[in-house]
Subunit: 372 residues, 3 copies
Amino acid sequence: MTTRLCRTFQTAPAAVPRENTAKYLDSGLDATGFAKPDWLVPDIEDGTAPDMKSEAVENVIDRLPETDFAGEVWPRVQWGYDSPAFREAGTEQIDTLVREVGDEIDGLVIPKVGRLPDVERVAEIVAESEATYGYPTGSVEIALIVETPGAKSDLREIAALGRGPDLEPSRDDSAAPETTPDDPEPTADDRLDRLAGLIFGPVDYTAELGGREIAGERPAWESLLVDLSNEASANDILSVGGPFDRLFGERAGVRFYNGDAYAEQVTREARVGLDGSWSLHPKQTVQANRIHTPSPEELARDVDRIERFQSARAEGTGAVTVDGTMIDEATYRNFANTVETVTSIHERAPAQPEELYDEALLARALDLDTGY
Amino acid sequence: MTTRLCRTFQTAPAAVPRENTAKYLDSGLDATGFAKPDWLVPDIEDGTAPDMKSEAVENVIDRLPETDFAGEVWPRVQWGYDSPAFREAGTEQIDTLVREVGDEIDGLVIPKVGRLPDVERVAEIVAESEATYGYPTGSVEIALIVETPGAKSDLREIAALGRGPDLEPSRDDSAAPETTPDDPEPTADDRLDRLAGLIFGPVDYTAELGGREIAGERPAWESLLVDLSNEASANDILSVGGPFDRLFGERAGVRFYNGDAYAEQVTREARVGLDGSWSLHPKQTVQANRIHTPSPEELARDVDRIERFQSARAEGTGAVTVDGTMIDEATYRNFANTVETVTSIHERAPAQPEELYDEALLARALDLDTGY
Amino acid sequence: MTTRLCRTFQTAPAAVPRENTAKYLDSGLDATGFAKPDWLVPDIEDGTAPDMKSEAVENVIDRLPETDFAGEVWPRVQWGYDSPAFREAGTEQIDTLVREVGDEIDGLVIPKVGRLPDVERVAEIVAESEATYGYPTGSVEIALIVETPGAKSDLREIAALGRGPDLEPSRDDSAAPETTPDDPEPTADDRLDRLAGLIFGPVDYTAELGGREIAGERPAWESLLVDLSNEASANDILSVGGPFDRLFGERAGVRFYNGDAYAEQVTREARVGLDGSWSLHPKQTVQANRIHTPSPEELARDVDRIERFQSARAEGTGAVTVDGTMIDEATYRNFANTVETVTSIHERAPAQPEELYDEALLARALDLDTGY
């Protein structure tokens, strides 16, 4: 069993006013070890100045065919449920990117979507470009930034766009797509399976609700993150937390990377089942990759528990107690999750688990049959 | 850009057994400075004794034409999704108030509503009185106390009654109201745009769920407040927190106004984007008005940030960093919210910002163009 | 007014590899005083080893006709929205239990349900067995473990299966069941009123969302518990918190029952209106029964408040202030809840309130008319 990874969703401005306007994009594509993000998101939206949007698109088109970046690449285009101008600009960016690098990108990140009809609108635009340029239906996925009250209100229906027809419980047959493979015309059902993930956007969200930072404290939106995690899991898609923009702190005259606060945010996100965290900086990528990777202690503990459980069950007892806790299938699956995540990371980025775990432990983990 | 204000939702018993039975109503209407509520709510429901309901209605009818109160006036009538007697009494109160002071009130506060059909039922009753006495459709708004599990369960559909036909994303045309202007008969669509706000009612809500105060601690219902703020924002209506009834504390023999605890509740509400807080006392009104008004430090900081951002952008750089934080349109809108709220307060109650801010800062704020 | 009690939902493995394989089942059935659970749940699912499932069913069939256990009995059968094998096993267990002890059980606990159609599927299976063996429609109830993202996503629709046709606001007449009493064929509406409760299952839930225990801390899922409490109350069914499996702690060389941590969990659950807590051990049953029972101080306080309120109102004042808090109908109902719960416990298990309260206080409570 493997797991699709998005431990890190690293945005990089796709064009900046430097000599090399693709400086941050290049830096993301060239990162190694734990600084390599699972998803690199060339940001054509808020990270790029209004007069550099075209150059941002050009940089993506220029760099992607050249790179041997092993993660997924997801450009963020412009969009806005309440802005015809942003939607028009975004539609053009989508069309250009699919035409030029439809093979090189894994999908497109769409910000500021509103209610379900707005999401369906953007999904159809992607489907049209995909059909126009001859790509297979669904090959260009989308991931949505959830950052408006309308998107939150319709979250359940929006997330359901990610449910593939082969999942349990199956959709009613009468609703199943009837696609004619030779017909390039997109249908309403082309959007099925196109949605790959939901990402939280707290800054826009707070502004849209009229929320405020008071006494240095911002709203944490904990229940929203739980809802995001739930709806993503219910539809077998990914969920990712929001950016942490206080990159640096200063105290008593010393300026320093704000590593504690970011790590705490990522930890809270991992605990409630978000698959990954947003990164704005290579140091954040290192931390988020590490936290969303089982620690050596966790891996050792869960490998050990699985081995002891399997031995105990081989002896025929039903309810097995390990470390004072009764293990049933539910408990067991928590342990299995740990091992399966490590297996997936090893398949995708072997350097990371090899750096993190001792050789014998990693071998035991990769060797386990995690079926119950 | 202006914002509809409801920083304070102050209930006042509309009739009490004193020589002047309208004592608290008069006190609310005559309040000045920060003690003046944005919304004054003459309470004909739980704040008025059963045998004084008629006098309560009479007091409202008597005082409103005389007053020069500059805020909004929203009488709270009786209602109950589970009580035919309360609905009958409420229907008569609605009819009397619309007939006698339909021009003087801004709307009616409806408590203890249940699921969507119960809300539609009360909206139709208001529409009928409105039509009977010749007021324009939608001129008498309603605001709902959310305090039953049914109303919470249907919150999304209930809040959607507040969505006007001109909002983005627009409603499907096939669902648009087809009103014949000359026809006084109310239709199902008359309720559209009638809903102005959602107010939380924690005491009834806790009782209906069977919740309990244990070890001096009551449930905080944080996720419900976030949902209320979200659904209100998604439909462009107001949201308000619940009352704080521990008006006075006592410690070591001294009784005192419980100002710290109330201020903390109001702060939590402001943080998650509730537009206002419930007040039971002029001192609470002062505090809630102040907390839902940007502090001088916030205003100075955000005016400064907007000015620096606008200068930096005039020089052509895209991603601007201010105070170590990258500013994009999303971040910017948080700053703009601060300034726009102050502008609205100044238009409505100039004495408040003039008391709070120094003259030069206020002038800079009122002078800013907050467009991005 | 009485309240259906489920302060304690105690699971007991229905068969274990001991000389008496029904050891834990017998122990639950024979418990007395505060160790007697309101609901005893013979666990045929995760608590029983795969090779002992048949014996587990046999033990339930064997013991129930003999016992004089005064609480409700709810066997937990196997199920799984994503597992045809578990559903097949569960269907057979349901059929056998209804056939053999349909009169002795109060209902069946169904774990790992998915979205609404999966719940409807299991409800129909119960309806079929019920009809086949001649039991009245709805006599075998179901209670669901909410422990998958699909069940959480559809919680509102699932909980609505519990709404009886006579509740306010009434269902649309066109949707009302049209049953022909002589027709044994189950219809879609047979499931109405069959759903009696919702129980949280955090271990499976955490695994399904990919959540993790990090730094010894697990996700608390507070907003989910509030949603569970709300939807249960909106449909007049019961809600119960999840199990606490860290039965024993160890510190400085001493191993001890983890009574503080469990009591804190139960307290949080009681505060937000969950009707009961899950118990894995007689000591947990004692604690949960006690915490979900009003304390002597609470009962004395609320009896006193009701008596003072009734006296004050008899003197004609409207808004009565007791202990510095204004009492209206909403506040009053919180006090009445306390007294009504004690009355229900006294009807069901008189030994418990007689142990807990002094005789005079209990007499005053049982004597009160709690109507407003």
